[in-house]
């Protein structure tokens, strides 16, 4: 499940910091690592986990590879709420129509 995976991925504090750096815009591994007390390979590993969870994506920018927040990952929250409201509103509808016919 997308949500579970995304939240598990963000459960690690270091990984969360990597993710949060991307909230300011796309960044290369080197730039992310420069702002953190961890090695480049460690940052790369965290990015790989975030990527698998659908939270970040990568693209080539010149000779570098930059990572950015994948809006589809955060949209998982939206998908979940969308389903929630479908359920809630159909139950609401049943209740409203029931009371109306009982009245």
């Amino acid at each position: 499940m997308t949500y579970q995976r995304a939240l598990l991925a963000l459960g690690d504090p270091t990984r969360r910091r990597v993710f949060e750096q991307l909230r300011q815009g796309p960044r290369s591994v080197g730039k992310i690592a420069a702002g953190m007390p961890v090695s480049r390979p460690a940052v790369s590993q965290h990015l790989a986990v975030l990527k698998r969870a659908g939270l970040v994506a990568a693209k080539a920018e010149g000779t570098r590879r930059v990572y950015y927040i994948d809006p589809r990952g955060l949209a998982a929250i939206r998908i979940w709420l969308d389903q929630f409201w479908d359920d809630a509103l159909s139950a609401f509808q049943a209740q409203a129509e029931k009371q109306e016919s009982d009245a």
Binding site: L10, E20, A88, L89, Q93, Q99
Partner: protein, 164 residues
């Protein structure tokens, strides 16, 4: 800032505008999917205090309470705006503000179109980024997802379960 499109829903109910508003804002435990409860105990009632600033909260059968949000706009029987302050970890978070606007449009004496919009969802994304590693805690997402799946699989409405 990453924007997430609002969730928008529209449906028609065979009920008057006043009735639709009343059912929506009365005791929500009559229709709120019980598997999505923010309480550990079964819902006793889930209510909105009928005024701007009024609390939107759930009360469990064991007397425990949990706030869902508060009333931002209150225009019975046409519309209301509720603050939804349940975060991605399915907990009340007063620092989170997403909005649920519901409009009740009379299309006939006994037909009402209901339009719902849940917006500013990207704020939940911000919160998700700050969420602790609590996914496996009771009431965390994994439990919610499981119960959601159960609900989806059984396809049973709240009303059915309550009247049995």
């Amino acid at each position: 800032m990453i924007a997430i499109a609002p969730v928008r829903k529209q449906l028609r109910v065979k009920a008057s505008q006043a009735r639709a508003f009343e059912v929506f804002t009365g005791d929500m435990s009559l229709w709120w999917p019980p598997q999505h409860s923010i309480l550990k105990s079964p819902l006793e009632r889930h209510i909105v205090e009928p005024r701007v600033g009024g609390r939107w909260y759930a009360v469990g059968v064991d007397g425990s309470t949990c706030q869902t949000g508060y009333v931002i706009e209150w225009n019975p029987p046409q519309s209301l705006v509720l603050a939804w302050q349940i975060n991605a970890d399915w907990r009340y978070d007063p620092a989170l503000l997403t909005e649920v606007e519901v409009r009740f449009i009379a299309e006939g004496a006994d037909v009402t179109r209901v339009e719902l919009e849940h917006r500013n969802l990207q704020r939940m994304g911000d919160k998700a980024a700050q969420v602790r590693g609590s996914v496996d805690s009771p009431g965390g997402w994994s439990a919610i997802i499981e119960s959601f799946k159960h609900f989806a699989d059984t396809g049973r409405g709240v009303r059915d379960e309550k009247t049995e």
